[in-house]
Amino acid sequence: MSGVVVVGAAESRQLGVVKDQSAMSLATSSALDALSQAGLTLADVDGVAAVMPVVEFAYALGVSPRWLDGTNVGGCSYMLHVRHAVAAIERGDASVVVIGHAESNRSQVGAQPLPFDRSSMQGQFDLPYGASGTFARLTLNAMAYLDAYGLGEADLAEVPVAQSRWANRNPRATRPELLTVEDVLASKMIAWPFRILECCPLNDGGGALVLTSAERARDLDLAYRPVTVAGSGEASEGGSAMFMENLTSFGAFRESSASAMRSAGVTHADIDHLMMYDSYAHLPLIGLEDLGFVGRGEAVNFIRGGATSPGGALPMNTNGGGLLYAHTGMYGMFALQEAVRQLQGCAAAQVEEVETSLVQGIGGMWGAAGAVVLQRG
């Protein structure tokens, strides 16, 4: 268990379609809100991490950091930022770290263009085959998973159905409607077997976390109780669905989650809240199995039986998830924000007595994974 805590966590006040704020402004305003929760100011910040150009982010904030982390491994980068910030704070390389995030992929206000390198491995061997979006790339292994366990399209639909019970309680959710399997199957086809309700929406938005030592946090006037970063893990595998050693399991999920739980000194029985990255509906299925919460091929029945829904044994994606709450292109910050809120006791759909939360992210096209165990106090 580390001696580093989250003392501020804020999402951008605007989320969804935001035409009057740039990505940078969504990130800086989130950072200021997160700092104010901790009774801190920009003058206290000496460490900055971001996926967006981190030097520009620090400069926009008006901070001269002595520690920078611009790690970009896709949507789970924020879990890696948390992990790296913990190490920096424990080593004394930084005392107050701001991790910022924002994207304007929907409205394209000050948005960074997505790189497309035609000589990269994906540019040579993946993108030439008509992959028009992540919905035709990250999803590529789903049929192998469904086929391996005799599952079908109605089974995949159980993921958004269960998560709609959370989204329905969240006034900020992009897709707040309660869903049935029939609703999901009747929604627009995007890339068989994925309907639009099994693919994340594309929003503008951002968020920021503020981390410092537990020792320093004791002297701060905190708006919410601190949340301890108990453990973390990071890993990578191949960078494309075709490079996975096994199409139904992701090595980086297995490695990063095991590392996070081991370093936190917790077991599955201790985890009472899970944020499982879900830009597409098959990710929670493979994730629940790779993280070891259920056996191989059992995730659908676990979800269908209500275990991850309100009142269930393992509340999962309690903001509605990337599928129904919000997704800006890289979702990891929002998964972390929801876990922090649950541990602070201020979530929109608050679960009773959450002590330990596991946040599992994925980055790129089955490329990287990052996991963080957060605990109350």
Binding site: R118, S119, M121, G123, Q124, F125, D126, L127, P128, Y129, G130, A131, S132, G133, F135, A136, T139, L140, N141, A142, M143, A144, Y145, D147, M189, I190, A191, W192, P193, F194, S240, A241, M242, F243, L247
Partner: protein, 138 residues
């Protein structure tokens, strides 16, 4: 087909694309262990040793797929199309479209037998797959 994305070879992958232009599928192997691997790399991912290139059988099975309803540039006007992961007989997997097979779930069985064919995109020829036993030439 015009408008489709064109891969840009690198020194590590040049043999793959040169052979594809001759309508042959060649893959890298580890010289030390004789194991096939993909994607191509300068050194063997198994031993760090030398890489040799050999012609692959072109035989594969369907490992996974989506049927994409949102066309990429160059794929407009053909209706939904399959983007598949195919498992080569030699072990490595490739991404491919499936030619001459209806883009319908009923027509697509995981494990069905496929064979390589080639699609000319002008400056470059890309390997593609179709049902095994199809006509030659593309």
């Amino acid at each position: 087909v015009s408008g489709r994305a064109l891969p840009v070879p690198t020194p590590e992958t040049q043999t793959y694309w040169d052979k594809a232009a001759e309508h042959e599928l060649w893959l890298p192997k580890c010289a030390d262990t004789d194991r096939w691997f993909f994607p191509p790399r300068e050194r063997s991912p198994f031993t760090g040793g030398e890489v040799i290139w050999r012609r692959a059988s072109g035989r594969a099975t369907l490992a996974s797929y989506v049927i994409n309803h949102r066309p990429a540039p160059g794929y407009e006007g053909i209706g939904p199309y399959v983007i598949a992961i195919v498992g080569l007989e030699e072990g490595p997997r490739l991404i491919s479209n499936l030619l001459d097979i209806p883009a319908e779930p009923q027509a697509l069985q995981i494990g069905m037998k496929l064979e390589v064919t080639f699609e000319n995109r002008g400056v470059i020829t890309v390997p593609q797959f179709r049902r095994a036993g199809g006509e030659t030439g593309a």
